[in-house]
């Protein structure tokens, strides 16, 4: 029976931008291969023991080998797969978003959560979300106030904070 729900098809079509071609596929498989090889070397160093009396490294070693072998298969067979997406200029937005997250985590223990959170929400609204200045400022202040109320006053979570 074919899927006839129009919404369903729409979503399926809409969310997948042009596929990326063979290079990212191969790179991804090579990264996985590297993880497998590194894991195998690391766990070999831990000591494998015997099959009947396993050492600390045996199980991670076995998994690493599985990862390495499967990744190698993927390097060879996965070139033609079309399930990866191209990275584009818009990827920079994701990178910018990621930077704001790291800044929040770095500043949190130094100056408390209020100012970094306020800035994060504001930056996401104004530049990543293209909201107006007014709504960006209002929403970010309200959000941080609500978090303060919830985490600090109601739940008494020991978040680092100024007030």
């Amino acid at each position: 029976m074919p899927i006839t729900d129009p919404l369903e098809e729409e979503v399926a079509e809409e969310t997948r931008p042009p596929h990326a071609g063979p290079v990212p596929q191969v790179v991804a498989a090579l990264v996985a291969l590297a993880v497998g090889v590194a894991g195998a070397i690391g766990s070999f160093g831990l000591g494998l023991g015997e099959l009947t009396h396993p050492g600390p490294g045996l199980w991670p070693f076995a998994i690493s080998i599985v990862i390495a072998v499967l990744s190698l298969t993927l390097v060879v067979t996965g070139r033609g797969l079309q399930d990866a997406e191209r990275f584009s200029k818009a990827t920079l937005l994701t990178a910018a978003g990621l930077v704001t997250l790291i800044l929040l985590a770095a500043l949190l223990p130094l100056i408390g959560f209020e100012i970094p959170s306020l800035l994060l929400v504001c930056v996401w609204l104004r530049w990543l979300g293209k909201e107006s200045w007014r709504s960006s400022i209002v929403i970010s202040i309200v959000t941080v106030a609500a978090f303060y109320l919830l985490f600090v006053l109601l739940l008494q979570v020991p978040l680092p904070r100024l007030i």
Binding site: L7, P17, S43, P54, P56, L81, T91, I102, S117, L125
Partner: protein
Amino acid sequence: MDISPILDGFGIVLEPSNLIYCLIGVIVGMLIGVLPGLGPGATIAILLPITYGIGPVSAIIMLAGIFYGAQYGGTITSVLLRLPGEASSVVTVFDGFALARKGKAGTALGIAAIGSFIGGTVSILGLTLLAPIVAGFALDFGPPEYAALGVLGVLLISSIGNGNKLKAIIAAAVGLLIATVGRDTFTGAERFTFGSLNLAEGIDFIPIAMGLFGLSEILYNLEERHNQVHAPAKVGNVWPSRKDLGQAKGAIGRGSLIGFLLGVLPGGGATLSSLAAYAFEKRRAKQPERFGKGAVEGVAAPETANNAAATSSFIPLLTLGIPANATMALIFGALLIQGIQPGPQLVTEHPDVFWGVINSMYIGNILLLIMSIPMVGVFVKILRVRPAILAPITVLITLLGAYTVRNQVYDIFLVIGFGLLGYLMKKLGFEPGPLVLAFVLGPMIENSSRQSLLIFGGDPTGFFTRPISGTVLALVLVVALWPLISKAVRRKPAPVPAGPPADPPVEPPVEEKTP
């Protein structure tokens, strides 16, 4: 069986003050469940001092209410924001979030509420009638049985996704590898900790799940939103239709049973049950490809199962004195504070507590269902908020929530790291589900099989000669070879074109109507 203590138990629960404590517990639990990171364990710890002042029965009724309220709260974030709060609701994310994106969040949440109610109630009935018998069953599961179950679980993981199978298995293997980080339980050797004390106890589930599911989705959408104007998901309906219910009926029934049975096993039962229920439904479905794209059964099965399992996890605590998970350990602690030692003598020494707790669950489940009906409408409205506004708020909940797990900034960095990994995986066609689930099951397989080998004195044939582990391993073989078996069966009646094999048509084919 003497039923008067059971009826007395109902009398206790129906006292107005206890009803109020039950209600408070369920509401608090639901709110806590919505906040990722701050789980029921932490909340119960905060509320422990309050329980000094109220009687033991009321205290436990309230704490139990928090526990299963949080279960449902976790479902809400899994469906709406792709943020599973616990390992047992990871599976719900697949179809729950897909339904939400199709504007059918109400359907998903409604089905989950009904499934949870039925699963919970079936499980309490089981608890009432069978507790001592199934408790013995739980004890028959030793390390070899857990090892076999873990292997079965990982095998099921590889069948749940829709994407490339090879990539799914690689992701699962990476999850198993990540799970080995930390101090080895058997030798104390530091594995992949790079000298960091933060890694010595391994990586917590919460940062991984929040990063790979919740945060990666937001990072991905950041880029998506730029590509096209992304209208907020249309909120089609706020309650499942009769058709949805009909479709979910079988899944709820089977999920209740699977959840009740596996939930009795202390350690990992709830996660396994949600996974098994989902995989089972997918396997017996006429169109397995609907799963992961918003199949109603894909929400009904795991949600029913994890709630049934949450309820039956009280069995080891109340009848054997074994806390099945961290939350149960706290409820154990709360009982101790009240001067009550949970254990084999609880039912004879404190029948009021034993039956009071069990019967409060009937009431708690009904309260939860009644409350969730209007709540679904409210929560679904969250999706009407523009993604541009919802995104930063979700990010903040995620990051600050991660901090609350261990009160360490380090965990925020972990979430960000896994968020990045999840984003890259999504871009490159890897699904996060297998990784997260394998991460949860990995220690179960490794530790249990190493314990088994010590018990067997190094002889691995023991895995096959013990009746339960042997049976489970046989099941593993059947599942692993199923594609071959079904192909062989299908090939025999060659003249019949595309005849439905092995799987008997129990359910009438589901009609999908165009709205």
